[in-house]
Assembly symmetry: C2
Homo-oligomer: 224 residues x 2
DNA sequence: CGCTGGTTTAACCATATGGTTAAACTGACG
DNA sequence: CGTCAGTTTAACCATATGGTTAAACCAGCG
């Protein structure tokens, strides 16, 4: 990962850039580039983003981006994997906690996810968008984010159904329903706002209301 | 929209392409280009797509694409608008039909949408993806697809709630819930398959099962 | 104080890409 | 059969873009 320098002949005059971080310092530039890549990629997606934009956003030369991350694609992969790993494992952890009842899980996931996506508006849309245009990457990269703990869920759902507490439902549909209800408004936010005539500044209030709406809706939906 | 030709001097030798449709025929080329653009854009998204790819897919020269549609962006706008207008109006029509009960609407929308998206796997993902990376376009272009008939829905939901048939729920959440449950597996399909460990070839069966699962779940979710 | 290794930079390169142009082809019509 | 309008095409062009390179810079170390 280290391309050494060399020496040869004349060149030209150079001044340090606007806000020179100087050299030989800490690895701050690398972090700044990564953070900038996160912001830009999430906002615009991979293919619309130019490496130059990332460099600009990081206050750094374009070559430095390649120096640290090789190719744009490699950087994009890293960002995508990190983004997916940022919210899915939390969901999986809650769903996989054998100590929690179905109801507790639903309430916990709803609260946690609505808070999270409310604070990171572009994340879900970015991840889904990327997954759609580059489905090949998903398979490999998603390993970092793991998969849903269907085993635990299946047992729990079967037991609850046997006890007559809920309707019979497969773990797959349970997850699909939960995730769909949670992320749809965020993933499709620009469309959704137009469709239901929701002003952008009223969106947070909508999400807030959803924290009450969703547990009620979902838990009722499970009833026999 | 018509750029006339002219005449001047020598040029070079030309043979007709692989499958020459000849000139002076019908407006078949334009249609072929548009259809090709639909396929390619839906599969890859706007920014990943090269005009050359569309030309190839249409069996036509790249210049012809510009001849008929001006810019790539214009063509992309046309395709996006058409794609959104392909499934949203149907949903709005069902939801806005004052003759149908809430329950009938839910059953009808679920059946219709699952059939539709099952037959057009990339459409929802494409529309959502584009809306995410180009939110500016949504506002203007969505006019062709219209907006949800919230007025009718609100009255109906309020009446049903007053009659004690359902829980109180706003039309916005009603639409969000319905759309989220319906389109999520399609929009996030590559992710979803990995998350729940669903083989691609078992997806159609999952959708089929969903036709029974969703009305039950949704209608139960509305109950007081 | 000069060397050294990690860091940062400007300049460069090959190619891809969106878009333009002017010619050539085609069938219909008079 | 010549012309005309609508099509279709190869060749071009300017620019953007991802990536490379070799030099310069900087701090710490011996």
């Amino acid at each position: 990962m280290v391309k050494p320098a060399s020496s040869r002949a004349p060149a030209a005059v150079r001044r340090r850039p606007v806000a020179a971080t100087a050299a030989g310092t800490d690895g701050a530039s690398r972090d700044r580039i990564l953070a900038a890549a996160h912001r830009v990629f999430r906002r615009q997606g991979t293919s619309k983003t130019r490496t130059q934009e990332i460099a600009d956003e990081a206050g750094v030369n374009k070559a430095l981006v390649h120096y640290y991350f090789g190719t744009k694609e490699a950087l994009a992969d890293a960002v995508f994997a990190a983004a997916a790993a940022e919210f899915l494992p939390t969901v999986f952890a809650i769903l996989g906690d054998a100590e929690l009842s179905i109801e507790d899980k639903v309430r916990a996931v709803v609260r946690e996810q609505l808070d999270f996506h409310g604070a990171h508006p572009y994340l879900a849309g970015y991840v889904v968008s990327e997954a759609h245009t580059q489905p090949e990457r998903v398979q490999t990269i998603m390993r970092r984010a793991g998969t849903a703990p269907l085993g635990v869920l299946r047992r729990q759902l079967a037991a609850a159904a046997a006890a007559g507490e809920i309707r019979r439902i497969s773990a797959e549909h349970f997850v699909a329903n939960l995730m769909g209800l949670l992320v749809f408004p965020f993933v499709a936010r620009p469309l959704f706002e137009v469709i239901v005539g929701l002003d952008a500044d009223r969106f947070p209030a909508f999400v807030e209301a959803r924290k009450r709406e969703l547990p009620a809706f979902f838990l009722a939906g499970l009833r026999p």
